[in-house]
């Protein structure tokens, strides 16, 4: 047992940090530091910078153009990324679709799509959920009917994160209603420019446009866009979900949020004294920090055990998903509470980079308050998406505990 990074890992960290220092565009960094809105363009620009360095996909094997990094290296990269205030990369293509395509896709698909993901040329979104099928994903109804060389797709997907930017969507569609629901699902790649697709924005509770409804009206999809075999999509979908959930622990983001929380608690004052000196508030920070200390190691233990066994991730990722989402929520809540009165205003313009600030507002409000209450509201999603906490607990109790 040893929790220290070895000299090579330390060297790697130095290299990663130096890269972020040198290459992360200042305007993007500033936006993330201040919690301002980031655009698709910002994320794509950053993906292209990483791609040029050869770091376009930190979780892919080398033969597909990935870094081939091990679990610890990926962890270090993610930690440094969050700390440097670099934007996250598009998870739907890099962390969800790609592993599926690399494992179950054919050579033509791999050769066409993977390089375009790596270079940032294609933006992907995830088309799993439907209005009637959230937790019970297997009940999905969007249909794909084979007609010659094409599937004709009809139905509706919902909650599609950043779907408004997407060039492509990977969808679970129903190709058979005969056997169990799980057995009639296929995994289809659909060009968002296809005729018959409509995207409708859904505004979230923080007032922001992050998710969408996507409607399919007789959309023609070439059969070459089927992943693997027809009616085997559920297997690929579950494989993908495990990858999605393992990424949800978000240790790097939690560490960054914790640092920010401490910063705010040192700057905010309560009756003239720094809030961090108030032991009641400090204990709350300490409590979350302990959870995070544990989760960092739990996360590495689970991931490295899987890597060592060369196995696939299993139901243990549910532990990571539950804890990671709860911790990020608690940190968001504490940041909001640290603000006191400054949590109350909602000055929408302040989310834009160019906002000059109203000099009459409290200096805390001008410097960091604007996104924080909105983040608390927004982060409620983390215990809902990618399988809600209740669903994860069902998985733990059934698949691990055998209850």
């Amino acid at each position: 047992m040893d929790l220290k990074y070895n000299p090579e890992e330390e060297k790697f960290r130095t290299e990663v940090r130096a890269f972020f220092d040198a290459e992360l565009p200042t305007d993007i960094r500033t936006k993330l530091q201040l919690g301002r809105r980031i655009s698709k363009e910002d994320m794509v620009r950053w993906q292209k910078i990483l791609f040029r360095k050869g770091w376009g996909a930190v979780n892919w094997p080398k033969r597909f153009g990935g870094t081939g990094w091990d679990i610890v290296q990926q962890h270090i990269f993610e930690e440094e990324r969050a700390d440097a205030c670099a934007p996250p990369q598009n998870p739907f293509s890099l962390k969800m679709l790609a592993p599926v395509m690399q494992t179950f896709g054919n050579a033509a698909q791999q050769e066409y799509f993977l390089p375009r993901i790596l270079s940032g040329d294609d933006w992907w979104c995830q088309g799993y959920s439907e209005p009637g099928s959230g937790s019970d994903l297997a009940s999905l109804r969007t249909s794909a009917v084979r007609q010659g060389d094409h599937y004709i797709v009809n139905g509706q997907k919902t909650w599609n994160t950043m779907g408004q930017y997407a060039d492509w969507i990977f969808c679970l569609v129903r190709t058979s209603s005969e056997a169990r629901p799980q057995q009639g699902i296929s995994f289809l790649l659909i060009d968002m420019k296809s005729p018959g697709i409509t995207v409708r924005p859904i505004i979230m509770l923080d007032g922001e446009h992050e998710i969408n409804d996507i409607f399919f009206d007789n959309v023609k999809v070439p059969v070459q866009n089927l992943i693997g075999e027809e009616n085997k999509g559920w297997t690929y979908a579950k494989f993908l979900l495990t990858h999605e959930r393992s990424g949800n622990a978000g240790i790097g983001a939690c560490k960054r949020a914790l640092k920010k929380l401490k910063e705010i608690a040192s700057e905010q004052t309560s009756n003239g004294r720094p809030l961090i000196e108030d032991s009641r508030f400090r204990d709350r920070i300490a409590q979350v920090e302990m959870e995070l200390m544990a989760l960092e190691i739990t996360n590495l233990r689970v991931l490295s055990a899987t890597a060592k066994a060369q196995g696939t991730l299993g139901p243990e990722v549910s532990v990571l998903k539950i804890k990671g989402s709860e911790i990020i929520q608690q940190l968001a809540e504490l940041k909001m509470h640290a603000l006191g009165h400054d949590a109350l205003p909602y000055v929408r313009e302040a989310l834009e980079m160019g906002w000059a600030g109203n000099p009459l507002l409290s200096s805390h409000y001008r410097s960091y308050a604007p996104p924080i209450s909105g983040q608390y509201f927004n982060q409620r999603k983390t215990t809902i998406y990618a399988g809600s906490t209740e669903i994860q607990k069902n998985i733990i109790s059934q698949m691990i505990l055998g209850l």
Partner: protein, 384 residues
Amino acid sequence: MEFNYSEEQLALQETLQRFISRDYDFDKRRKFSASSLGYSAEAWTQYAELGLLSLPYPEEFGGLGGNAVDIMLVMEQFGQGLLLEPYLSTVVTCGGLIRDAAPTPMKQKMLPQIAAGELKLALAAYEAAGRYDLSYVGCTARESGGSWHLTGRKTVVLDGASADHYLVSARSSGGTGDRDGISLFLVPRDAKGLTVAAYPTQWGARAADLKLDEVTVGADALIGAPGRALPIIERAVDRANAALCAEAVGIINALNQATLNYLKTRKQFGVAIGTFQALKHKMADMLIAAEQSRSMAIIAAVHADSQDAAERHRAISAAKAYIGQAGRLVGQSAVQMHGGMGVVDELIVSHYFKRLTMIDLSLGDADYHLANFSDTLRQAVSSV
């Protein structure tokens, strides 16, 4: 003990419920909130006609002589309907303060104007560096030639955007955190040297920050004795907190109702999600939280008019802390059990959740009030 509302109170409750369903549904509320005022001027006129704006004032000043329980009932409906009008600030906090502590001529002038819907007020008592501490007053008040000159800043003045007058706390003697030396002034919005920076709040109403630069008011603007205003302000804020507790209870019940409906109608895995035990238990916890919160809101209301400052303060802090915690549980659980539908702007659920969250952060959050309450235990032990 008597736990029931009177006939008159029930009639008032019904009137408000009818008003909300007829004139203040969720779509209308959205429009009011998006307007430049941030609330409905028409609704305000109707409140005047219904007697809501004169509810807590003595009859000699044109009031209806109502008590804090009447206010509780009104505020519960404000929660239920997510009403945006500056009732809390104008009628409960500032109107109540004027009723209790202002010189008679000021009462004679202002209370009837409030009752008629012609005058709105807001309390400017907090400063950025003081967090929730009302004794942290850096804003200064200097007397010269029979006038007072005020200089400083006030932060997040609730309903401050539309107020015609502000009640401003300022220090006439002592150091920033001292309990003594705080005076209270009535400052008109158009006073020279006063700048108002208004903005929307997270729940759609409006608030403001104030900057006072040598704002001059006459001796008749003073409320209470010079340097002795803190207890007056604390009493008003206690009363406002009791009202916020009632508003929170209205929201908690509305959220529970909405969530229960959802559990019965939303189907996954071929059954209503309310058949899953994990959700049943969560919902049961929400019901318990609602019952306990109502009791706390009643305790707060019954103490709101109390002359015993220590007893009043202790009870209301307990209620506000408890309801802050209960509201967190109910709000978060309601969102969670709605799944994706819980985090969209389109449903009222997220709007209830946001207001409930912001009620906790207004006029002292759960931790602040827990500390207040907890400190009284120490005093009780040391006096045994």
